[in-house]
């Protein structure tokens, strides 16, 4: 019954009158408008495929970044890790976390010459960047950086105690560089710091001469 009624209405539907304009000039009108639109052959790369490609690249980048965080100096993804940390430090202005990471890498690689070279190079680079950045910062920030560097010095000193002579020498070099950088982070408390450093150097000399005497 209802199907029959629909069939009747369909007859009326099919008799819909076509407007004169559409019948005679419809295509002409459309053809002129098609000229304003990019031809389908030039948009052969479908939007979905493009979106998928972009998404894949983003996922790949994120995964690479995540994996690179576990890499060590000398490994393929280590430069990615360094670069991401560098970007983070520059954007946030926080060099403390990066310094800490690089310092740990220096300690971890002190037994391996090649890796140590790369780690110490990156550590030095981070120190230089942090020092440059600190020039424009207020006293509070400078003090924070000095404290962070002091902490690293202690870490190097502690690490030296556990390492062999070769590693000790390497770490000593790094320790010196850290102290020098700390001294260069100028501020009102600078003089006191320099005195601290001087005292520390004197203590170390005494220790070294003591060690030599013992060796003798």
């Amino acid at each position: 019954m209802i199907e029959e009624q629909l069939n009747n209405l369909k007859k009326e539907y099919l008799k819909t009158e076509m407007p004169h304009y559409l019948q005679n000039y419809g295509w002409q009108n459309l053809e002129s408008r098609l000229a304003e639109v990019k031809s389908p052959q030039f948009s052969f790369f479908p939007k979905r495929a493009f979106a998928f490609a972009v998404l894949s690249v983003i996922i790949l980048l994120i995964s690479t970044l995540a994996i690179s965080q576990k890499s060590k100096p000398g490994q393929t993804l280590y430069p990615v890790k360094v670069l991401s940390d560098q970007v983070y430090s520059q954007v946030t202005g926080n060099y403390e976390a990066t310094i800490e990471k690089r310092a740990q890498e220096v300690i971890d690689t002190s037994g391996n010459g090649e890796s140590f070279e790369e780690a110490s190079k990156e550590y030095q680079k981070t120190l230089d960047e942090a020092k440059e950045k600190a020039k424009d910062e207020n006293e509070e920030k400078k003090e924070e950086l000095r404290k962070k560097l002091e902490q690293q010095e202690k870490r190097f000193e502690n690490a030296q105690k556990e390492e062999n002579q070769k590693s000790k020498n390497r770490l000593n070099d790094i320790l010196e560089r850290t102290r020098r950088t700390r001294g260069e982070v100028k501020g009102s408390k600078n003089e006191r710091r320099e005195k601290d450093n001087q005292r520390h150097d004197d203590d170390e000399k005494d220790n070294n001469s003591g060690n030599h005497n013992e060796d003798d």
Binding site: Q5, L14, L22, L30, P40
Partner: protein, 179 residues
């Protein structure tokens, strides 16, 4: 490869003549579909939407793929349906009741009853949800397969079959209540 497939392939390569032939194959169907959905109150809208449907089809032709089981008429009607929905949102929906019947030359003896029946059915169709109304128009007036209706509406074929059964029952009830 049938004739339409060849025309689509050529049109995808930027051949306007091929697209012109596609236009001639479909414009009448797209126009009456727009006209039936929009009624007579907006004189130029069905014509404009019909033209806009082909313009959009041309623009996004590269997205259409027969290899993925695409039906070209479903692709066109889907664009038309979306444009009709956009148009109705902008200008507030006009019920199908406002649709003015086209004068026809049906014999007088059967004419009056049929016209009354058709008016009642149109009124009932106007009371259906938009999606349900489209399913009926596409399946019964445009004689699409359930698979094509599903593609036009954007749902599964099985769901369409079940839905048609329910819509017909619903239509019957609406007409009964109106008596």
């Amino acid at each position: 490869m049938d004739n339409l497939s060849q025309l689509i392939t050529k049109a995808k390569e930027g051949n306007k003549d091929a697209f012109g032939q596609i236009y001639n194959l479909f414009y009448k169907r797209i126009f009456r579909y727009c006209k039936f959905n929009l009624g007579n109150s907006r004189a130029n809208d069905p014509q404009d939407i019909c033209q806009e449907t082909f313009l959009r089809a041309w623009k996004s032709l590269s997205n259409f793929s027969e290899k993925k089981g695409g039906s070209f008429q479903a692709y066109l009607f889907r664009i038309a349906r979306n444009l009709i929905i956009d148009n109705s949102r902008k200008k507030k929906e006009v019920p199908l009741l406002e649709y003015q019947e086209i004068e026809d030359d049906t014999d007088l003896d059967e004419g009056i009853d049929k016209k009354n029946e058709n008016q009642k059915l149109k009124a009932a169709l106007g009371k259906l949800k938009e999606k349900d109304r489209q399913i009926i128009i596409l399946r019964y007036f445009e004689e699409m397969t359930t698979a094509e209706v599903a593609k036009t509406i954007g749902t599964k074929e099985g769901a369409i079959r079940v839905r048609i059964h329910r819509i017909l029952k619903n239509l019957k009830e609406i007409i009964e209540r109106a008596k």
